[in-house]
């Protein structure tokens, strides 16, 4: 019995590391957000002021940037779900010997560096890149398609590339966990393949889909590098603005206000997605089964 007691205690050092390294800096933002900047000394001073929060609420640029990030995250998550779902099911149906290879193939994009991915896509999509060369070679276009690079299209394509594995993996795992006999039973009872899918397979994979949606949303809404390096003029993000306020303008209080507002909006959106998904019967059944 003492062993289990010891194991639970292992959580303490881990929690301590995460509180110090992760939670504390974020909580500090709350304190900084009500401080003021001494414009003469270019320093932050602990004078209480709500001016930064007032600016956050009244200046439409901030709300616009945050709204844009949320929207971008939602769009990427939805596209990733539509593309990732069939991919996950097709991997779940591969012969066992192939699954390990599929996993390595699927995860490779994650193993390449952030900057490598951005760089590679610039080479693929540029005016003299692969796509334009193929399009021109086929005679489909007369001059390079400029819209391929430095546009919202580029941002979302590369965000999708970065995050698709995070959608596929959890759906794949939840598809693997389905008891095949349930599908056979549905078929024996006269369900057509499509019906067996909508009534049995889909509801049981909703938890995986939910995890995928949340992961892709968090990763793509919070990505600064992809929009700023590939999005061109459309690449402004709240993260880049925070970076600017922090690094260039030395306005830490305003940077903190914007960071907190972004975090609150992201968590609220993510919770809403989670809440909506829990309304599905299948999701509840799997989660309750898992808690037993």
């Amino acid at each position: 019995m003492r062993l289990t007691l010891h194991r639970a205690h292992l959580a303490l050092p881990v929690a301590l590391v995460l509180i110090l390294g992760c939670l504390l800096p974020l909580l500090l933002l709350i304190a900084f957000s009500v401080f003021t900047v001494d414009m003469d000394a270019f320093e932050m001073v602990p004078d209480f002021s709500l001016a930064n929060w007032a600016q956050m609420l009244t200046n439409p640029v901030f709300a616009f940037l945050i709204g844009k990030a949320v929207l971008s995250g939602l769009i990427t998550a939805l596209i990733a779900a539509v593309l990732g779902y069939p991919l996950a099911l097709s991997i779940a149906n591969l012969p066992i010997a192939w699954k390990g290879i599929a996993q390595i193939l699927l995860l490779t994009p994650l193993y390449t560096g952030e900057i490598v991915r951005i760089y590679a896509w610039r080479v693929v999509l540029g005016s003299e890149g692969l796509i334009n060369a193929v399009l021109e070679g086929l005679g489909l276009v007369d001059e390079p398609v400029k819209l391929l690079l430095f546009s919202p299209f580029t941002t979302h394509l590369v965000l999708l590339y970065n995050t698709l594995p995070f959608m596929v993996l959890p759906i794949w795992i939840s598809a693997e966990l389905i008891d095949r006999r349930l599908i056979e039973a549905a078929r024996d009872l006269g369900a057509r393949p499509f019906e067996a899918f909508t009534r049995v397979v889909f509801p049981l994979t909703i938890p995986g889909l939910g995890v995928g949606l949340l992961a892709v949303f968090a990763l793509s809404a919070g990505d600064m590098l992809t929009p700023s390096m590939l999005g061109g003029t459309s690449g402004a993000t709240p993260m880049a603005m925070i970076d600017n306020l922090f690094g260039t303008a030395f306005d830490w209080p305003l940077a903190s206000v914007l960071a907190l507002s972004l975090l609150i909006t992201l968590f609220a959106t993510a919770s809403s997605i989670g809440f909506l998904l829990l309304r599905f019967k299948g999701a509840r059944a799997v989660l309750q089964g898992g808690l037993k």
């Binding site: 193939l105 560096g113 951005i118 590679a120 890149g129 960071a259």
Partner: protein, 267 residues
């Protein structure tokens, strides 16, 4: 498998590997312009690479930083996974929230908040800060990987060891740990890989340290040159080597575990 599924899988692999293939293609292309049509085969970009002191130094820096990140991530992930497997863990929800927090918070925001904290308490940025911050980012991944193996362990083996008089530490050391070696290796390699892949954290916390990703990013803002392609291909191959080695190791451990755990595991 239906034709539709084969097609889906093939298209996905094409999408994932397209940018990587194009990089590799241009790294052997005998022109400093990255444009089609290709102009011929050369290895000179790779030769240039070995004469580029900044690249080599950056690579060494990145490698030296990635090692402690991998080891720490595996160690913390192991502790977290063992704690999660205990039915006695109190505040389970809070603990899980803390573990996924580094994944959910945008990296830029987290790194800036960490930089502010460090500045405020007077700590300098540099390799230490970079290692700590990259380890935090790797914790959700390392924990998930090890926890997935821990929940599948046969509890009866531990009970048997305890019945035979083993102390809790002996039970862990002789029964639990050997079964987790593969997962711990995988957690270590995900830590190393995430560290090598990182640019965002380095931008804010590296201080004067210059990991490879920062050097590449500053080059990238100026001009695209094919020796960058060659370097990316080398980094990719090294990463692939880590991935394959860790997968082979994990599988050999899994086989070892199966023969060890008895026939139930094969059912």
């Amino acid at each position: 498998m239906t034709r539709g599924m084969t097609l889906t899988f093939t298209l996905a692999i094409g999408f994932f590997y397209l940018p990587i293939l194009v990089l590799a293609l241009f790294s052997f292309n005998a022109s400093s312009l990255m444009a089609f049509p290709l102009s011929g085969f050369t290895l000179s970009w790779y030769a240039d690479l070995f004469g580029n002191a900044a690249f080599l130094h950056g690579f060494l820096t990145s490698f030296l930083i990635s090692q402690p990140v991998g080891i720490l991530a595996a160690l913390i992930g192991l502790l977290a996974a063992l704690a999660l497997s205990s039915p006695r863990l109190a505040y389970r929800g809070v603990f899980i929230f803390l573990i996924v927090l580094p994944f959910l918070v945008p990296k830029t925001v987290l790194s800036i908040a960490q930089a502010m904290l460090m500045n405020w308490v007077g700590l300098g940025r540099g390799p230490g800060a970079l290692i700590a911050a990259q380890t935090l980012i790797a914790i959700p991944f390392a924990t998930t990987i090890i926890a997935a193996t821990v929940i599948r362990l046969d509890k009866r083996l531990e009970d048997a060891a305890r019945d035979l008089g083993a102390t809790p530490w002996q039970t862990f050391r002789r029964v639990v740990l050997p079964q987790l070696k593969g997962a711990i290796g995988a957690a270590y390699s995900i830590g190393v890989i995430l560290s090598l892949a990182d640019l965002t954290i380095s931008m804010f916390l590296a201080g004067r340290t210059q990991p490879l990703s920062l050097i590449v990013a500053s080059q990238f803002r100026r001009e695209l040159k094919p020796d960058l392609n060659a370097m990316q291909v080398v980094v990719l191959l090294l990463t692939a080597l880590i991935v394959v080695a860790s997968e082979v190791y994990r599988r050999s451990r899994a086989r070892h575990r199966n023969t060890f755990a008895g026939p139930e595991d094969h059912a």
